[in-house]
Symmetry: C2
Subunit: 212 residues, 2 copies
């Protein structure tokens, strides 16, 4: 709870900057992001940015964290409102594809873009991205494991393998939706997981009839 109007103003600026930085990062990259450009976009001065982050790298790290927050709010939280099991897996995938389709970010996916941008750029930013990626992978595997525990997926299913394939369908949707036909990409991403889950899940009523 902040009572000081000054830091309240600072917080507003900070999140506004970071939100813009997340968007811009999917356009020109997290490294390609220019402080002058970012300042111009927001109508603030460049040196005003340095009042909040001591360096570009600090801002990049904060931008990654902000993107994680947005991902949590827009994809993970909605999925967690679905019941555990294949329905939650499906909800997660749906939320993800919907997020891409809503064109919230011009580049499609903040993490896919920045992961490829930094996977050969050693440093704190890369380390942060790798950590976030690892957590995301673990979360996906956790959801799959929950579905197994609920008896909605066979006990002998290869959990990391299935999690890998789910993620693969999503990443490819982000990639293709910006360079090829978007609707086709979304359809393939959805159909791919739907086919997969329907083939594995003993209860056909848990999943929708066709791809929505």
């Amino acid at each position: 709870m902040t009572v000081d109007g000054r830091v309240a103003r600072g917080d507003r600026t900070r999140t506004a900057v970071l939100d813009a930085a997340v968007v811009l990062a999917t356009e020109v990259g997290l490294h390609g992001l220019s402080l002058a450009q970012l300042a111009d976009t927001l109508g603030v001065s460049k040196s005003g940015l340095f009042a909040h982050w001591r360096s570009k790298e600090a801002l990049q790290l904060a931008t990654v964290d902000r993107a994680v927050e947005q991902w949590q709010e827009r994809i993970i939280d909605p999925a967690l409102r679905a019941p555990r099991g294949v329905r939650r897996l499906w909800a997660l995938h749906q939320a993800r594809i919907d997020f891409y389709a809503a064109r919230v970010l011009p580049g499609g996916c903040f993490f896919a873009s920045t992961d490829f941008e930094y996977n050969a750029r050693p440093g704190p930013v890369r380390d942060r991205l790798a950590e976030v990626f690892g957590r995301w992978t673990a979360f996906l595997e956790h959801l799959v494991r929950e579905a197994v525990a609920a008896g909605e997926l066979p006990a002998d299913v290869d959990v990391p393998q299935l999690a890998y394939e789910i993620d693969a369908l999503g990443i490819t949707a982000a990639m293709r939706s910006r360079l090829l036909d978007p609707d086709t990409a979304y359809r393939h991403a959805r159909q791919g997981l739907l086919n997969r889950l329907r083939a594995l899940c003993p209860d056909p009523t848990l999943l929708p009839e066709g791809p929505s």
Copy 2:
């Protein structure tokens, strides 16, 4: 056939520059590529580059074309030496994963990196990348269709869907192999397609026993 030693020298420089540019592009991006850095890496002068390409954009386009050539030589040509059908599909996937595993390019995959870099950057480079991506997708679908025609995949298989899923497994391998555990990524990419093809192909002898 070139007889002139001067243009022969030029050609040597050109391909040397482009090979280095392909590598560098997977590290710092096709846009992040600096002419001074590229010139230094090769021991030539910056202005020497302008003797071959009138602008940075021209060099970027040439770099994309060179990456296509390398992809053709290292992934497509080897696959085409396998017999049509599921074996050729498998050979393509194997060649691709092997290429990533050989760490030829630090960033993993030239096209994945640059596609995400340029998917929100309008211009000739993006257009070229989109065209190449479209051709690659069509080629994948062509190989799947061949397998159907050879009776090695069911006639009612959804061709673009399967091609999408094959590509997805590959892209994700490139992505994960640089930020997470590489061997796990390669294993999942291979196992994913092997499971898929073995489930679809009526002749089990056409595919290897386990993932190699």
